[in-house]
Structures are given as C-alpha cells and as structure tokens.
Symmetry: C2
Amino acid sequence: VRDFYPEDMAVENYIFKTMRRVAESFGYEEYGASVLEPAELYEAKTGEEIVSEQTYTFTDRGGRRVTLRPEMTPTVARMIAARRRELPLPIRWYSIPNLFRYERPQRGRLREHWQLNCDIFGVTGIEAEAEIISLAAELLRAFGLKDEDFEIRLNSRKIMDYCISGVLGLQGDDGKTICRLIDKKNKISDEEFKKTAADILGEKDKLLLALLNSKNFEEFISRLPRDEEAEKTLNETKGLIKVLDGLGIYNIRFDQTIMRGFDYYTGTVFEIYDTDAKNRRSLFGGGRFDKLLSIFGAPDLPAVGFGMGDVTMRDILETRGLLPPYRPPAKVVVCIVEKSALPYGNDLTQKLRAEGVAVLIDCSGRKVGDQIKAADKRGIPFVVCVGGAEVKSGKLKVKELKTGEETEVEEGQLARLLKNRAVK
Amino acid sequence: VRDFYPEDMAVENYIFKTMRRVAESFGYEEYGASVLEPAELYEAKTGEEIVSEQTYTFTDRGGRRVTLRPEMTPTVARMIAARRRELPLPIRWYSIPNLFRYERPQRGRLREHWQLNCDIFGVTGIEAEAEIISLAAELLRAFGLKDEDFEIRLNSRKIMDYCISGVLGLQGDDGKTICRLIDKKNKISDEEFKKTAADILGEKDKLLLALLNSKNFEEFISRLPRDEEAEKTLNETKGLIKVLDGLGIYNIRFDQTIMRGFDYYTGTVFEIYDTDAKNRRSLFGGGRFDKLLSIFGAPDLPAVGFGMGDVTMRDILETRGLLPPYRPPAKVVVCIVEKSALPYGNDLTQKLRAEGVAVLIDCSGRKVGDQIKAADKRGIPFVVCVGGAEVKSGKLKVKELKTGEETEVEEGQLARLLKNRAVK
C-alpha cells in the first residue's frame, strides 16, 4: 500500500496543484472518469499481451467484466468519441487520474500511481506538437527545473516507418520486431542488439546501425536515401524544431532511437530526459496518435498528448531539492490560559476562520506553556494566548514561535495581521 | 462508468476545493492512501456479512488478497496505529478518498464515489464532538446552505446502550437486533417494526415505542428510569448541545432514533438532515469511535469524525441552485488575423501566461470572425486579435464577448487589465 501521511500528501498536492495551474494557463480543461472501465475498452484496442500483463480485470456481481485502468488514453478516446459532435474543436483537455499497474511481473503486486495527461484533439499541423511540447517544458520550469536540467528528444514514427519499410524493406512482423528492438536499444547490450538486427536484416544491419548511431539530425538525414514523400516527412520534424526554437525552447534534439512503446502513435514522438550525468533517465513522454478514435467506432481525430507520472516527478524534485517544506494548514493556535476564557477563545477562532485565517484552538486544559510547545512541535507559526486580561481588554498578543517576537494588536485587527504576516 | 466531462469535473473540483478550504480553516491536515488495501484490514474488524457484501476483494498476481476500499475509517485507523508514538495529539486529519461499493445487491455493479472524511483523534471530552459538528455545519454554510436548510440530529450510543441493556434488559444478539431495528425505523412500516419489537421484547415493546416516539430530549429523559451512571451519560449529551449553542449552532436536536449502522461507534452519533419538506433525507453523519485502534494492535485512542459524500452534496447543491456556473480556465483567446503575426501572437501568449493569465492561441488560420465565434462558443470571456497593425504599434484591443465592449491597451498593460477585469 502507498500511504500519504500529511507531509507526503502535501507533496502530492503541490505536484497536482502545479500541474493544474500550468495546464490551465494553456487553457486546458480538466476531465475525469471512474477508475473502473469495461474490460472491452482495452481488449478492443489491441490483442497485445503487454496490455493484459499490466492490467487487472475482474467480474463484478452483475456479471460485467471490469478493469482497473492502466492508462488514461483509451478513456479519453472513449469519452471524446461519445460526444464527438458536440465538442468544439480543438479540444484541449487534461486529467490527473490514478492508474493501476503490476509493479514487476516477478512480484505481481498491483500498484496505484497518478499521471497528468494533457491532450489536444483536432489539430493536424505541427502547432499541436509545438503547444504540447511547450506545455511539457513549462511544467518542468514551473517545478523549478532549469532548461539545462532536462532535454527534449524528438522523433517521428513516420520517419521511422520510412526507415523500416522504405529503406530497410521490412514489413509486418519483421518491421514490428525491429521497432521494438530500436525501442529497447538503450536497455540491452550492443551484442544482443546486433544479433537480433543481423538475424532479421542480414547485411542491411550495418545501415540500421549507422542510422541509429548518427550523431545528429543532419547526419541521420544524410544517410537516408529519400523520395519526395520522405522529404516532406523530414521537413515536418525540421519545421517543428524551428517552431519550438521560436517559442524559446532550445533544449531539444532529434533522437532516432525514441520510439515510445505504444502502438497507437502515428507521428511525432518525444521523451524528456533528465540531463543529470548520474541519473540520465526518461522522465516522461508523449506523441501524436491520429488513429485512436476509430477503435471506438468514431471518425478519427488528430491528437497529440503526453503523460507525466507523479512518482518520477516526486523523485526528481526530491533529488534536486525542489520540493517546498511542509507547512501545516493552521497559521495560528488560540491557547486558552483559563477555562473562563474558552467562550471568548471559541468566538475569536470563529471570527478568524470567517476572515479566511486557518486556526485551531487548544481546549486541552493543559498549562499554557505546554500548549505553546505543542503548537511549535506541529510547526504552526503563531500563537495567541487568551486569558481573563485579554477577554477584558480585547487587546491580544500574537507570538511568532520561531523568532519569539510578540506584537500587540486589537482583536479586530488580528485577522489582517495574520493574513499579511509572511512566515519565515 | 462515471465520467466527468469538464463541466462535471468543475463541479467535483468546486466541491473538493470547498471541502479542503473549510477543513483546513479548522487546522485539519490532509492525508491519503492507495485505494488498494490488504483484505485482512476489513476481515480483522468484523466478521459481519454487511462488510463483505459491499466490498470487492481479489487476489493479485503475487498471491495477495487485496480489497478496493469501501470506506476510509479502517485505513486512517491503520495509518495512525502505525505511527501512534510519533504523532502529537490531538490529531486533526481529513481526506477526500474515492471509495468503492456495490450499487445495489440486485444490480451488483461496483461504483466509485468520493467522500470527505474529517476526524479528530486524542480528545476524550465533548469539545471534540463540538469541533467536528461545527466543522460539518461550517461546510454546509460554505456551500451556501442556510441554517434553516439543514438540521443536525444527535444521539448517543451510550444512552442507547443504557436503554437497551439497562432499561429493556436485552443482551447479546437480542440487543443487536433491536439496535438494527431502531436504525431502520424510518425505512420500514410501523407494523413491521412493532412485530419485530414485540417478538423480542414481549410487553416491554410499549416502553421502547414510547421512548422512540418522545417528541424531544426532555420527554425522552422523563420516560427513562435512571441511575447515577445514566445521569452522567445524559448530562454529556445535554452539555454538548449547550456548547454547540455557544458556538452559534442552533439547528440541532436530540433524536433517539439515530443509530448509524457501523458497529464501531461508542458515544455520540449524529446525522445531518435536509429540512426540505419534499426531500427530508439524511445528507451525511458521523460520531465517536473510541475503540477502533485496538483492532490494529495499537492502544485505543478517542476519536470523533464524519464522512460527507460527493454524490449527495452534488445533488443537494444542484437541487437548490447552489452550484457555480461553469467557466473554462482560459480567460482570453489570442486570435491571429494574419499568419505573419503568429510569432508576435506566440510571444504575447507566453508573456500573458508568465504573468498568470490563462490564455489560448488560435492557430487554425481560419477567418478571424470564426475564431471569435469559436471563443464565444467555448465561453471564454475575452479575445485579443493580433494582425500587422498590432505588431507594429504594440497597441492591442481587448474585446469582451458578452458585452462587445472594446478596450485599447498597451501590450505591457494587457496582463494587468485581464487579471483585474471581473467576468460578468
């Protein structure tokens, strides 16, 4: 089980809040759905083993087969297909669903995690890719990452399809095997890669290796024999890099080894990498998937999107010291010095809340010194002690626990003072 | 499946946001946990059939039996038991978990819903009940309900235990049967009630009916033969009503038919009712449960809490017209009059976002009139059209779509204007 004690929950909330703020600054609207989907949703899509290995499907008491969703894309495709005619295009949607997957085949534990999904539907041109990629970059910046902390690696499934079928002459299963091989190139040994490549490609394996090992886009292109159609495809990716450049996104490069596992990508694919030399890993990614809606019986709709997981983000922000410190919600504790002051204390507490100050009252009856210590231990920054004198005069002393500084204030001014006092 | 298109999601978010704001104004800290719990968590608690009928348990690939949580209380008890020594008391925690239950035994469909859970742990005295009940009342007020729109009905399990064992002389299963009978009194016919009561109580059924039919707390008490212990129990509930009166909560009354189904309640129980004559129903409820932690092998801790469901709240707010209208996140659309103005438009869009204005850009290339119409159709309140003239002069016209009003502004002032302009 994954538990979130308040300190951990605050981190999740900080991550979700930042995701929401940035997605909405791009005009993206939030949607959601139950984690339970009819099993057919996933079976319709592909017969691939990988899907069923990662999902959990069961039969409910009404005899329906239900799946705990492993990803959000089939859900959003289903929802859009259902209202295809009413929704004005382009559709800019985001969601932060909880998803379920088996941790590792060996352990077989079903785990829950969260993932920001941002998608734009209805735009054919590369301005969709440009928007989605700048949204992804803006998110990382909003979390405090600098442009040199991450790198956006870009590829196009269309280019790769051209390489595999047009240049290497592979079709059907052989093509798919090579696709998967390229996808896992960085995870397997060079020997293993070469062996499988040679098995399928024979002498052409050298061409594949030369293509994959090209140092940059220009070198890659120069090795590629190309016709008019290929030229067009290449220009699309070049054009996208140029548009992103115009949007101030320079930490981007073409990478012909980026494939992204999912079969539903049809064009641009990208993956964002941590540039930390000790931890050079993929943070998240996405791409264009223009053919997904037809699976749900709806006319296809061009679409570009990405998914960003909470676990990876939390990890990178923790590593880089970018998570904000925990602060409990209450800004002040009302301490009760004498029992007779309790009604006044209750009244004060209610007034502060009504003015938007988060406050808790200590009704424990213990010594006031212990009440103050308890407030401090909880990390609550201020206390106001209320006894007979305060009830009589209506003058209150606000004490900042970190500095010991005391400020006297009229009761009516207390809320304003607390709202405006920054916490060190 | 329960889908949340943006309009519906905005309602859920409004409800969750209000819940968070009010709970935090009382200093409650948010916690969370995965929806998957080890099945033993629920089996340890009770062997009762009602639990297994409402929960869904399955075996994961690692051979572990896992349950989709039907309620949050066992989870919070488990989490507190695990950190019993480190957590300073009292613990004020809240959560808005998604929970799973079968819709109705006949249909057998597993449904997901959300529920705000607020609990205070570590307070023996009625100030805990007072705080939890005022938090519940404050929540309803924050949603726009007036005090006359709802009524808080209060009872005490201790009083009822005294009635059942001390006054009616029932023990064990007979006592439990009468408890459940009282719990469903308002759901079954008078005949059915009387029959079961007479079966168990014989002649004493008249006393039970007289007690349950008492018009108010005084009448109820007057019918109750009582010893010193009983007097103490009654005074506790009287005291609570008085404290709540001091906190400005007057829409409260004693109701000896409130039992709350769960076995884990040990003292005060309460339920909040809609006072609408056409729809007099229970909205939500809670109570004191002092003995829950020992089930998890930890020393017991006094606890009071409640759970408030999203479906019921949504329903009552909808009925009363208290839900805010939907507004898409973007406040303005940047329309591109000529393609040459696109770089300027992109730049403007980025500047606005950097200053905290949610904005989207229309790169469709369609006629500007159509771009404006599309913005209006989406409910986005403002547009700024950018063409050659604007690029040259840096003077921009902001158009409010509802009124048609246009305001000319220097580019550098646009963000400020948009942030400060209220939307009608």
